[in-house]
Protein backbone atom coordinates (compact mmCIF):
# COMPACT_ATOMS: atom_id res chain seq x y z
CA UNK A 1 0.00 0.00 0.00
CA UNK A 2 2.96 2.27 -0.26
CA UNK A 3 2.57 3.53 -3.81
CA UNK A 4 2.24 7.32 -3.89
CA UNK A 5 -1.43 8.16 -4.30
CA UNK A 6 -0.97 11.91 -4.69
CA UNK A 7 2.25 13.37 -5.92
CA UNK A 8 3.01 17.04 -6.33
CA UNK A 9 6.17 18.16 -8.13
CA UNK A 10 7.27 21.77 -7.72
CA UNK A 11 3.70 22.98 -7.85
CA UNK A 12 3.10 26.73 -7.90
CA UNK A 13 -0.09 28.71 -8.15
CA UNK A 14 -0.25 32.33 -9.22
CA UNK A 15 -3.66 34.01 -9.02
CA UNK A 16 -4.03 36.70 -11.60
CA UNK A 17 -6.54 39.50 -11.52
CA UNK A 18 -6.81 42.55 -13.73
CA UNK A 19 -4.54 44.59 -11.54
CA UNK A 20 -2.34 42.35 -9.44
CA UNK A 21 -0.95 38.89 -8.96
CA UNK A 22 -0.87 36.77 -5.84
CA UNK A 23 1.59 33.91 -5.58
CA UNK A 24 -0.51 31.66 -3.37
CA UNK A 25 1.63 28.51 -3.52
CA UNK A 26 5.26 28.14 -4.52
CA UNK A 27 7.28 25.09 -5.44
CA UNK A 28 5.48 22.59 -3.31
CA UNK A 29 6.72 19.02 -3.73
CA UNK A 30 5.11 16.27 -1.74
CA UNK A 31 3.96 12.65 -1.82
CA UNK A 32 0.94 11.20 -0.15
CA UNK A 33 0.73 7.44 0.03
CA UNK A 34 -2.30 5.41 -0.65
CA UNK A 35 -4.45 5.05 2.43
CA UNK A 36 -2.44 7.65 4.28
CA UNK A 37 -3.99 10.32 6.48
CA UNK A 38 -2.16 13.62 6.19
CA UNK A 39 -2.88 17.12 7.38
CA UNK A 40 -2.06 20.49 5.86
CA UNK A 41 -1.33 22.94 8.61
CA UNK A 42 -0.55 26.61 8.30
CA UNK A 43 -1.68 30.13 9.04
CA UNK A 44 -4.62 31.80 7.41
CA UNK A 45 -4.02 32.64 3.76
CA UNK A 46 -0.97 30.42 3.36
CA UNK A 47 -2.42 28.43 0.51
CA UNK A 48 -3.96 25.37 2.14
CA UNK A 49 -7.22 25.67 0.31
CA UNK A 50 -5.38 26.38 -2.90
CA UNK A 51 -3.33 23.20 -2.55
CA UNK A 52 -6.45 21.20 -1.82
CA UNK A 53 -8.16 22.60 -4.85
CA UNK A 54 -5.20 21.69 -6.99
CA UNK A 55 -5.33 18.12 -5.70
CA UNK A 56 -9.05 18.02 -6.43
CA UNK A 57 -8.46 19.19 -10.00
CA UNK A 58 -10.65 22.20 -9.39
CA UNK A 59 -7.87 24.54 -10.48
CA UNK A 60 -4.74 23.84 -12.47
CA UNK A 61 -1.39 24.88 -11.03
CA UNK A 62 0.39 27.55 -13.05
CA UNK A 63 3.56 25.52 -12.67
CA UNK A 64 4.60 22.04 -11.71
CA UNK A 65 2.93 18.71 -12.00
CA UNK A 66 0.40 16.68 -10.11
CA UNK A 67 -0.25 12.96 -10.33
CA UNK A 68 -2.98 11.05 -8.64
CA UNK A 69 -2.62 7.28 -8.61
CA UNK A 70 -0.10 7.62 -11.39
CA UNK A 71 -2.50 9.50 -13.60
CA UNK A 72 -3.63 13.08 -13.90
CA UNK A 73 -5.82 14.62 -11.23
CA UNK A 74 -8.43 15.02 -13.91
CA UNK A 75 -8.57 11.32 -14.51
CA UNK A 76 -9.00 10.73 -10.80
CA UNK A 77 -11.79 13.25 -10.61
CA UNK A 78 -13.57 11.77 -13.59
CA UNK A 79 -13.27 8.37 -11.96
CA UNK A 80 -15.24 9.89 -9.04
CA UNK A 81 -12.47 9.19 -6.57
CA UNK A 82 -12.95 12.39 -4.61
CA UNK A 83 -15.07 13.44 -1.72
CA UNK A 84 -14.63 17.03 -0.67
CA UNK A 85 -15.66 19.10 2.32
CA UNK A 86 -15.29 22.77 1.52
CA UNK A 87 -14.45 25.45 4.02
CA UNK A 88 -18.05 26.72 3.86
CA UNK A 89 -20.89 24.21 3.86
CA UNK A 90 -22.08 24.86 0.24
CA UNK A 91 -25.47 23.26 0.72
CA UNK A 92 -28.15 23.58 -1.92
CA UNK A 93 -30.89 25.87 -0.66
CA UNK A 94 -33.59 23.99 -2.47
CA UNK A 95 -32.78 20.62 -0.96
CA UNK A 96 -33.64 19.42 2.50
CA UNK A 97 -30.90 18.07 4.71
CA UNK A 98 -31.41 14.48 3.65
CA UNK A 99 -31.57 15.46 0.01
CA UNK A 100 -28.32 17.34 0.30
CA UNK A 101 -26.62 14.26 1.68
CA UNK A 102 -28.28 12.21 -1.02
CA UNK A 103 -26.81 14.31 -3.79
CA UNK A 104 -23.54 12.44 -4.46
CA UNK A 105 -25.36 9.12 -4.23
CA UNK A 106 -27.80 10.24 -6.88
CA UNK A 107 -24.88 11.29 -9.01
CA UNK A 108 -23.21 7.90 -8.91
CA UNK A 109 -26.59 6.35 -9.64
CA UNK A 110 -27.13 4.40 -6.45
CA UNK A 111 -30.47 2.67 -6.00
CA UNK A 112 -33.08 4.48 -4.00
CA UNK A 113 -33.55 1.96 -1.22
CA UNK A 114 -29.83 1.67 -0.69
CA UNK A 115 -29.47 5.44 -0.62
CA UNK A 116 -32.00 5.83 2.12
CA UNK A 117 -30.20 3.50 4.49
CA UNK A 118 -26.90 5.15 3.80
CA UNK A 119 -28.29 8.62 4.39
CA UNK A 120 -29.91 7.61 7.65
CA UNK A 121 -26.68 6.10 8.91
CA UNK A 122 -24.83 9.29 8.04
CA UNK A 123 -27.43 11.48 9.70
CA UNK A 124 -26.96 9.50 12.84
CA UNK A 125 -23.21 9.77 12.58
CA UNK A 126 -23.33 13.58 12.53
CA UNK A 127 -26.19 13.73 15.02
CA UNK A 128 -28.82 15.24 12.80
CA UNK A 129 -31.48 12.51 12.69
CA UNK A 130 -34.10 14.97 13.88
CA UNK A 131 -33.26 17.53 11.24
CA UNK A 132 -33.36 15.50 8.07
CA UNK A 133 -36.53 17.19 6.87
CA UNK A 134 -35.25 20.73 7.41
CA UNK A 135 -33.89 23.18 4.87
CA UNK A 136 -30.29 24.38 5.28
CA UNK A 137 -31.27 27.86 6.46
CA UNK A 138 -33.11 26.30 9.36
CA UNK A 139 -29.90 24.85 10.77
CA UNK A 140 -27.21 26.36 12.92
CA UNK A 141 -23.78 27.02 11.39
CA UNK A 142 -22.23 23.93 12.91
CA UNK A 143 -25.12 21.76 11.82
CA UNK A 144 -24.75 22.93 8.24
CA UNK A 145 -21.11 21.98 8.28
CA UNK A 146 -22.02 18.56 9.65
CA UNK A 147 -24.37 18.06 6.74
CA UNK A 148 -21.51 18.89 4.38
CA UNK A 149 -19.33 16.32 6.12
CA UNK A 150 -21.99 13.65 5.86
CA UNK A 151 -22.35 14.48 2.17
CA UNK A 152 -18.63 14.00 1.54
CA UNK A 153 -18.58 10.71 3.39
CA UNK A 154 -21.67 9.43 1.62
CA UNK A 155 -19.95 7.95 -1.40
CA UNK A 156 -17.04 6.51 0.61
CA UNK A 157 -14.55 8.17 -1.67
CA UNK A 158 -11.13 6.81 -2.39
CA UNK A 159 -9.64 10.22 -1.69
CA UNK A 160 -11.18 12.45 0.94
CA UNK A 161 -10.24 16.13 0.86
CA UNK A 162 -11.41 18.11 3.88
CA UNK A 163 -10.96 21.84 4.28
CA UNK A 164 -11.24 22.77 7.97
CA UNK A 165 -14.31 20.59 8.30
CA UNK A 166 -14.58 20.78 12.07
CA UNK A 167 -13.68 24.37 12.80
CA UNK A 168 -17.31 25.40 13.25
CA UNK A 169 -17.85 22.71 15.86
CA UNK A 170 -17.55 22.63 19.60
CA UNK A 171 -14.84 20.55 21.17
CA UNK A 172 -17.05 17.64 22.08
CA UNK A 173 -18.70 17.26 18.74
CA UNK A 174 -15.33 17.79 17.17
CA UNK A 175 -13.61 15.12 19.22
CA UNK A 176 -16.47 12.78 18.58
CA UNK A 177 -16.24 13.36 14.85
CA UNK A 178 -12.45 13.06 14.96
CA UNK A 179 -12.85 9.58 16.31
CA UNK A 180 -15.63 8.72 13.90
CA UNK A 181 -13.59 9.95 10.99
CA UNK A 182 -10.69 7.73 12.02
CA UNK A 183 -12.94 4.75 12.37
CA UNK A 184 -14.52 5.30 8.98
CA UNK A 185 -11.10 5.82 7.49
CA UNK A 186 -9.79 2.60 8.96
CA UNK A 187 -12.74 0.76 7.49
CA UNK A 188 -12.81 2.36 4.06
CA UNK A 189 -9.10 2.87 3.63
CA UNK A 190 -9.43 6.24 1.94
CA UNK A 191 -6.52 8.53 1.46
CA UNK A 192 -7.34 11.64 3.49
CA UNK A 193 -5.97 15.13 3.08
CA UNK A 194 -7.14 17.21 5.98
CA UNK A 195 -6.74 20.96 6.22
CA UNK A 196 -6.78 22.31 9.72
CA UNK A 197 -5.32 25.06 11.80
CA UNK A 198 -5.50 23.08 14.98
CA UNK A 199 -2.15 21.58 15.78
CA UNK A 200 -3.56 19.01 18.18
CA UNK A 201 -6.22 17.94 15.76
CA UNK A 202 -3.66 17.42 13.03
CA UNK A 203 -1.57 15.31 15.38
CA UNK A 204 -4.45 13.27 16.66
CA UNK A 205 -5.63 12.39 13.19
CA UNK A 206 -2.66 12.17 10.89
CA UNK A 207 0.15 9.94 9.83
CA UNK A 208 2.05 12.96 8.68
CA UNK A 209 1.56 16.72 9.04
CA UNK A 210 2.66 19.08 6.27
CA UNK A 211 3.40 22.47 7.72
CA UNK A 212 3.08 25.39 5.32
CA UNK A 213 4.57 28.84 5.61
CA UNK A 214 2.86 31.88 4.16
CA UNK A 215 3.60 34.51 1.50
CA UNK A 216 4.13 32.67 -0.69
CA UNK A 217 2.84 29.34 0.55
CA UNK A 218 5.71 26.87 0.77
CA UNK A 219 6.16 23.55 2.44
CA UNK A 220 8.21 24.40 5.51
CA UNK A 221 8.38 20.98 7.21
CA UNK A 222 6.90 17.54 7.34
CA UNK A 223 6.28 16.00 10.74
CA UNK A 224 5.84 12.25 11.13
CA UNK A 225 3.28 11.35 13.74
CA UNK A 226 4.58 8.27 15.36
CA UNK A 227 1.65 7.69 17.70
CA UNK A 228 0.30 4.18 17.32
CA UNK A 229 -3.11 3.46 15.91
CA UNK A 230 -5.90 3.21 16.85
CA UNK A 231 -5.65 6.62 18.43
CA UNK A 232 -7.45 7.14 21.73
CA UNK A 233 -8.51 10.23 23.60
CA UNK A 234 -5.99 9.44 26.31
CA UNK A 235 -3.17 9.91 23.87
CA UNK A 236 -4.01 13.61 23.82
CA UNK A 237 -2.54 13.82 27.27
CA UNK A 238 0.54 11.70 26.58
CA UNK A 239 3.99 13.34 26.75
CA UNK A 240 4.62 12.19 23.18
CA UNK A 241 1.61 14.23 22.09
CA UNK A 242 2.84 17.32 23.90
CA UNK A 243 6.26 16.83 22.39
CA UNK A 244 4.77 16.74 18.92
CA UNK A 245 2.81 19.89 19.63
CA UNK A 246 5.98 21.60 20.75
CA UNK A 247 7.85 20.38 17.64
CA UNK A 248 5.25 21.72 15.31
CA UNK A 249 4.96 24.99 17.19
CA UNK A 250 8.69 25.37 16.74
CA UNK A 251 8.60 24.68 13.06
CA UNK A 252 5.83 27.28 12.93
CA UNK A 253 7.70 29.87 14.83
CA UNK A 254 10.72 29.27 12.65
CA UNK A 255 8.66 30.77 9.87
Amino acid sequence: MNTPEIKLERVSMLYQTDSTEVLAVQDVTLDIKQGEFVSLLGPSGCGKTTLLRIMADLIQPTNGEIKVAGESARAARLAQKYGIVFQSPVLYDWRKVKQNINLPLEMIGMKKSEREDRVNALLELVGLEDFKEKYPWQLSGGMQQRVAIARALAMEPEILLMDEPFSALDEFTREHLNEELLSIWSKVGSTVVFVTHSISESIFLSDRVFVLSPHPGRLSSVVDITLPRPRTQEMRNSPEFFQLIADIRDSFEGV
Binding site: A56, R77, Q80, Y82, Y135, L161
Partner: protein, 269 residues
Amino acid sequence: MNVQNVLSSRYFPVVVWVFGLLVVWEFSSWFLLHVVEASMAQSKIPYIHELVYTFTQYGYTLFVEGKATFSNAAIGFLLGATLGGLLAVLMSISKWIEQLTFPYAIASQMIPILGLAPIVYGIFRDEQIARILIAGYITFFPVALNMLRGLRSVDPTAVELMYSFAAKPWMIYWKLRFPAALPGLFSGLKIAAPLAVTGAILVELMGAQNGIGVLMLRNLYYGPSHNYMFWSTVIVGAFLGVVSYLLISLIERIVAPWQPDFRSSGGDD
Protein backbone atom coordinates in the same frame (compact mmCIF):
# COMPACT_ATOMS: atom_id res chain seq x y z
CA MET B 1 -64.98 39.44 10.47
CA ASN B 2 -63.71 42.48 12.29
CA VAL B 3 -61.93 45.44 10.74
CA GLN B 4 -58.53 44.20 11.83
CA ASN B 5 -59.12 40.97 9.98
CA VAL B 6 -60.01 42.72 6.78
CA LEU B 7 -57.07 45.11 6.94
CA SER B 8 -54.53 42.37 7.48
CA SER B 9 -55.98 40.07 4.87
CA ARG B 10 -53.73 38.98 2.04
CA TYR B 11 -56.17 40.27 -0.50
CA PHE B 12 -56.79 43.64 1.02
CA PRO B 13 -54.01 45.39 -0.94
CA VAL B 14 -55.26 43.88 -4.18
CA VAL B 15 -58.74 45.16 -3.51
CA VAL B 16 -57.38 48.60 -2.69
CA TRP B 17 -55.29 48.63 -5.85
CA VAL B 18 -58.12 47.66 -8.13
CA PHE B 19 -60.59 49.96 -6.46
CA GLY B 20 -58.16 52.87 -6.33
CA LEU B 21 -57.32 52.46 -9.97
CA LEU B 22 -60.95 52.48 -10.94
CA VAL B 23 -61.62 55.63 -8.95
CA VAL B 24 -58.62 57.46 -10.38
CA TRP B 25 -59.60 56.37 -13.85
CA GLU B 26 -63.20 57.45 -13.52
CA PHE B 27 -62.14 60.77 -12.10
CA SER B 28 -59.61 61.38 -14.89
CA SER B 29 -62.27 60.57 -17.42
CA TRP B 30 -64.65 63.04 -15.87
CA PHE B 31 -61.91 65.62 -15.54
CA LEU B 32 -60.89 65.32 -19.17
CA LEU B 33 -64.45 65.45 -20.40
CA HIS B 34 -65.86 68.24 -18.29
CA VAL B 35 -62.99 70.29 -16.94
CA VAL B 36 -60.38 70.20 -19.66
CA GLU B 37 -63.03 69.60 -22.30
CA ALA B 38 -60.46 67.82 -24.39
CA SER B 39 -61.39 66.73 -27.88
CA MET B 40 -62.27 63.05 -28.07
CA ALA B 41 -62.06 62.85 -24.32
CA GLN B 42 -63.92 59.56 -24.13
CA SER B 43 -61.53 57.96 -26.57
CA LYS B 44 -58.63 59.10 -24.47
CA ILE B 45 -59.96 57.86 -21.15
CA PRO B 46 -63.42 56.35 -21.30
CA TYR B 47 -65.78 56.29 -18.35
CA ILE B 48 -65.54 53.15 -16.28
CA HIS B 49 -69.27 52.94 -15.90
CA GLU B 50 -69.68 52.97 -19.66
CA LEU B 51 -67.19 50.16 -19.91
CA VAL B 52 -69.00 48.24 -17.23
CA TYR B 53 -72.15 48.73 -19.20
CA THR B 54 -70.43 47.43 -22.31
CA PHE B 55 -69.27 44.43 -20.33
CA THR B 56 -72.76 43.67 -19.15
CA GLN B 57 -73.97 43.86 -22.73
CA TYR B 58 -71.21 42.05 -24.55
CA GLY B 59 -69.60 40.20 -21.67
CA TYR B 60 -70.27 36.85 -23.22
CA THR B 61 -68.62 37.73 -26.53
CA LEU B 62 -65.66 39.21 -24.70
CA PHE B 63 -65.40 36.13 -22.53
CA VAL B 64 -65.52 33.72 -25.44
CA GLU B 65 -62.98 35.63 -27.51
CA GLY B 66 -60.80 36.17 -24.45
CA LYS B 67 -60.78 32.47 -23.78
CA ALA B 68 -59.71 31.74 -27.33
CA THR B 69 -56.88 34.23 -27.04
CA PHE B 70 -55.78 32.85 -23.71
CA SER B 71 -55.43 29.32 -24.99
CA ASN B 72 -53.50 30.55 -28.02
CA ALA B 73 -51.29 32.55 -25.68
CA ALA B 74 -50.66 29.45 -23.59
CA ILE B 75 -49.44 27.54 -26.60
CA GLY B 76 -47.21 30.38 -27.74
CA PHE B 77 -45.94 30.81 -24.22
CA LEU B 78 -45.01 27.17 -23.84
CA LEU B 79 -43.15 27.23 -27.11
CA GLY B 80 -41.44 30.55 -26.35
CA ALA B 81 -40.46 29.54 -22.85
CA THR B 82 -39.05 26.24 -24.07
CA LEU B 83 -37.16 27.96 -26.85
CA GLY B 84 -35.87 30.64 -24.52
CA GLY B 85 -34.82 28.09 -21.95
CA LEU B 86 -33.00 26.00 -24.52
CA LEU B 87 -31.26 29.02 -25.95
CA ALA B 88 -30.16 30.11 -22.48
CA VAL B 89 -28.75 26.67 -21.78
CA LEU B 90 -26.94 26.70 -25.09
CA MET B 91 -25.45 30.10 -24.44
CA SER B 92 -24.52 29.29 -20.87
CA ILE B 93 -22.41 26.39 -22.08
CA SER B 94 -19.79 28.76 -23.34
CA LYS B 95 -19.22 32.47 -23.78
CA TRP B 96 -18.15 31.58 -27.26
CA ILE B 97 -21.51 30.18 -28.22
CA GLU B 98 -23.17 33.11 -26.55
CA GLN B 99 -21.19 35.59 -28.58
CA LEU B 100 -21.93 33.66 -31.72
CA THR B 101 -25.65 33.24 -31.26
CA PHE B 102 -26.56 36.37 -29.39
CA PRO B 103 -26.33 38.88 -32.20
CA TYR B 104 -28.66 36.63 -34.16
CA ALA B 105 -31.09 36.46 -31.30
CA ILE B 106 -31.14 40.23 -30.99
CA ALA B 107 -31.29 40.77 -34.72
CA SER B 108 -34.13 38.31 -34.99
CA GLN B 109 -36.09 40.39 -32.51
CA MET B 110 -35.80 43.34 -34.86
CA ILE B 111 -37.79 41.62 -37.56
CA PRO B 112 -41.35 42.75 -37.13
CA ILE B 113 -44.15 40.31 -37.75
CA LEU B 114 -44.80 42.14 -40.97
CA GLY B 115 -41.44 41.03 -42.34
CA LEU B 116 -41.42 37.71 -40.57
CA ALA B 117 -44.82 36.48 -41.64
CA PRO B 118 -44.01 35.97 -45.33
CA ILE B 119 -40.91 33.98 -44.43
CA VAL B 120 -42.64 31.77 -41.93
CA TYR B 121 -45.53 31.17 -44.30
CA GLY B 122 -43.03 30.61 -47.06
CA ILE B 123 -41.29 27.89 -45.08
CA PHE B 124 -44.16 26.11 -43.41
CA ARG B 125 -47.10 26.92 -45.62
CA ASP B 126 -49.39 26.25 -42.74
CA GLU B 127 -51.26 28.96 -40.90
CA GLN B 128 -51.53 27.16 -37.60
CA ILE B 129 -47.83 26.37 -37.39
CA ALA B 130 -46.97 29.87 -38.50
CA ARG B 131 -49.13 31.41 -35.81
CA ILE B 132 -47.74 29.29 -33.03
CA LEU B 133 -44.20 29.99 -34.15
CA ILE B 134 -44.79 33.71 -34.26
CA ALA B 135 -46.33 33.67 -30.80
CA GLY B 136 -43.33 31.76 -29.48
CA TYR B 137 -40.93 34.10 -31.21
CA ILE B 138 -42.33 37.05 -29.28
CA THR B 139 -41.90 35.43 -25.88
CA PHE B 140 -38.56 33.69 -26.03
CA PHE B 141 -36.20 36.60 -25.54
CA PRO B 142 -36.94 37.68 -21.96
CA VAL B 143 -37.02 34.08 -20.86
CA ALA B 144 -33.66 33.41 -22.45
CA LEU B 145 -31.98 36.41 -20.88
CA ASN B 146 -33.31 35.90 -17.38
CA MET B 147 -32.59 32.22 -17.47
CA LEU B 148 -29.07 32.90 -18.70
CA ARG B 149 -28.47 35.27 -15.82
CA GLY B 150 -29.71 32.63 -13.43
CA LEU B 151 -27.53 29.94 -14.92
CA ARG B 152 -24.51 32.20 -14.75
CA SER B 153 -25.06 33.39 -11.18
CA VAL B 154 -24.49 30.07 -9.49
CA ASP B 155 -22.13 30.02 -6.50
CA PRO B 156 -18.78 28.93 -7.98
CA THR B 157 -18.06 26.62 -5.05
CA ALA B 158 -21.35 24.85 -5.64
CA VAL B 159 -20.19 24.18 -9.19
CA GLU B 160 -16.87 22.91 -7.88
CA LEU B 161 -18.75 20.50 -5.69
CA MET B 162 -20.33 19.13 -8.83
CA TYR B 163 -16.97 18.88 -10.56
CA SER B 164 -15.67 16.95 -7.60
CA PHE B 165 -18.40 14.38 -8.23
CA ALA B 166 -17.22 14.29 -11.84
CA ALA B 167 -20.77 15.23 -12.69
CA LYS B 168 -21.60 15.11 -16.35
CA PRO B 169 -22.45 18.54 -17.72
CA TRP B 170 -26.11 17.70 -18.02
CA MET B 171 -26.08 16.55 -14.41
CA ILE B 172 -24.66 19.90 -13.33
CA TYR B 173 -27.52 21.53 -15.13
CA TRP B 174 -30.12 19.23 -13.80
CA LYS B 175 -29.05 19.14 -10.19
CA LEU B 176 -27.55 22.57 -9.74
CA ARG B 177 -27.87 25.19 -12.43
CA PHE B 178 -31.55 24.71 -13.14
CA PRO B 179 -32.72 24.90 -9.54
CA ALA B 180 -30.41 27.83 -8.92
CA ALA B 181 -31.71 29.57 -12.03
CA LEU B 182 -35.34 29.11 -11.12
CA PRO B 183 -35.83 32.52 -9.52
CA GLY B 184 -34.38 34.16 -12.61
CA LEU B 185 -36.37 31.94 -14.89
CA PHE B 186 -39.53 32.89 -13.12
CA SER B 187 -38.96 36.59 -13.38
CA GLY B 188 -38.39 35.98 -17.08
CA LEU B 189 -41.60 34.01 -17.28
CA LYS B 190 -43.47 36.74 -15.48
CA ILE B 191 -42.38 39.18 -18.13
CA ALA B 192 -43.03 36.73 -20.91
CA ALA B 193 -46.48 35.56 -19.86
CA PRO B 194 -48.28 38.84 -20.58
CA LEU B 195 -46.13 39.19 -23.69
CA ALA B 196 -47.48 35.87 -24.85
CA VAL B 197 -50.95 37.36 -24.66
CA THR B 198 -49.70 40.18 -26.85
CA GLY B 199 -48.19 37.62 -29.14
CA ALA B 200 -51.44 35.74 -29.39
CA ILE B 201 -53.29 38.94 -30.17
CA LEU B 202 -50.77 39.93 -32.84
CA VAL B 203 -51.08 36.54 -34.39
CA GLU B 204 -54.83 36.88 -34.44
CA LEU B 205 -54.39 39.99 -36.51
CA MET B 206 -52.96 37.77 -39.21
CA GLY B 207 -56.41 36.83 -40.38
CA ALA B 208 -57.74 34.68 -37.57
CA GLN B 209 -61.46 34.22 -37.10
CA ASN B 210 -61.57 34.32 -33.32
CA GLY B 211 -59.87 35.95 -30.44
CA ILE B 212 -59.76 39.19 -28.56
CA GLY B 213 -57.31 40.56 -31.13
CA VAL B 214 -59.82 40.16 -33.91
CA LEU B 215 -62.40 41.96 -31.85
CA MET B 216 -59.94 44.68 -30.93
CA LEU B 217 -58.92 45.33 -34.49
CA ARG B 218 -62.41 45.43 -35.86
CA ASN B 219 -63.67 47.75 -33.20
CA LEU B 220 -60.74 50.00 -33.81
CA TYR B 221 -61.36 50.18 -37.51
CA TYR B 222 -65.11 50.21 -37.45
CA GLY B 223 -64.94 53.84 -36.32
CA PRO B 224 -64.90 55.72 -33.04
CA SER B 225 -68.49 54.88 -32.27
CA HIS B 226 -67.11 51.63 -30.92
CA ASN B 227 -64.80 53.29 -28.55
CA TYR B 228 -66.14 51.57 -25.45
CA MET B 229 -66.04 48.19 -27.05
CA PHE B 230 -62.48 48.81 -28.20
CA TRP B 231 -61.49 49.81 -24.70
CA SER B 232 -63.20 46.74 -23.33
CA THR B 233 -61.01 44.57 -25.51
CA VAL B 234 -57.94 46.44 -24.28
CA ILE B 235 -59.02 45.77 -20.73
CA VAL B 236 -59.68 42.12 -21.43
CA GLY B 237 -56.16 41.91 -22.89
CA ALA B 238 -54.68 43.49 -19.78
CA PHE B 239 -56.79 41.24 -17.61
CA LEU B 240 -55.51 38.17 -19.42
CA GLY B 241 -52.05 39.54 -18.68
CA VAL B 242 -52.88 39.75 -14.98
CA VAL B 243 -54.19 36.22 -14.97
CA SER B 244 -51.14 34.87 -16.74
CA TYR B 245 -48.84 36.71 -14.35
CA LEU B 246 -50.65 35.44 -11.27
CA LEU B 247 -50.60 31.94 -12.67
CA ILE B 248 -46.84 32.06 -13.04
CA SER B 249 -46.49 33.52 -9.54
CA LEU B 250 -48.50 30.64 -8.18
CA ILE B 251 -46.38 28.09 -10.01
CA GLU B 252 -43.26 29.80 -8.71
CA ARG B 253 -44.42 29.34 -5.14
CA ILE B 254 -44.96 25.68 -5.78
CA VAL B 255 -41.80 25.01 -7.76
CA ALA B 256 -39.27 27.23 -5.99
CA PRO B 257 -40.56 27.80 -2.46
CA TRP B 258 -37.12 28.04 -0.89
CA GLN B 259 -36.37 31.60 -2.00
CA PRO B 260 -35.54 34.08 0.78
CA ASP B 261 -38.52 36.22 -0.15
CA PHE B 262 -40.91 33.37 0.60
CA ARG B 263 -39.46 32.39 3.98
CA SER B 264 -41.86 32.94 6.77
CA SER B 265 -39.20 34.30 9.09
CA GLY B 266 -37.03 35.99 6.47
CA GLY B 267 -39.06 39.15 6.19
CA ASP B 268 -37.78 42.45 7.46
CA ASP B 269 -40.81 44.66 7.28
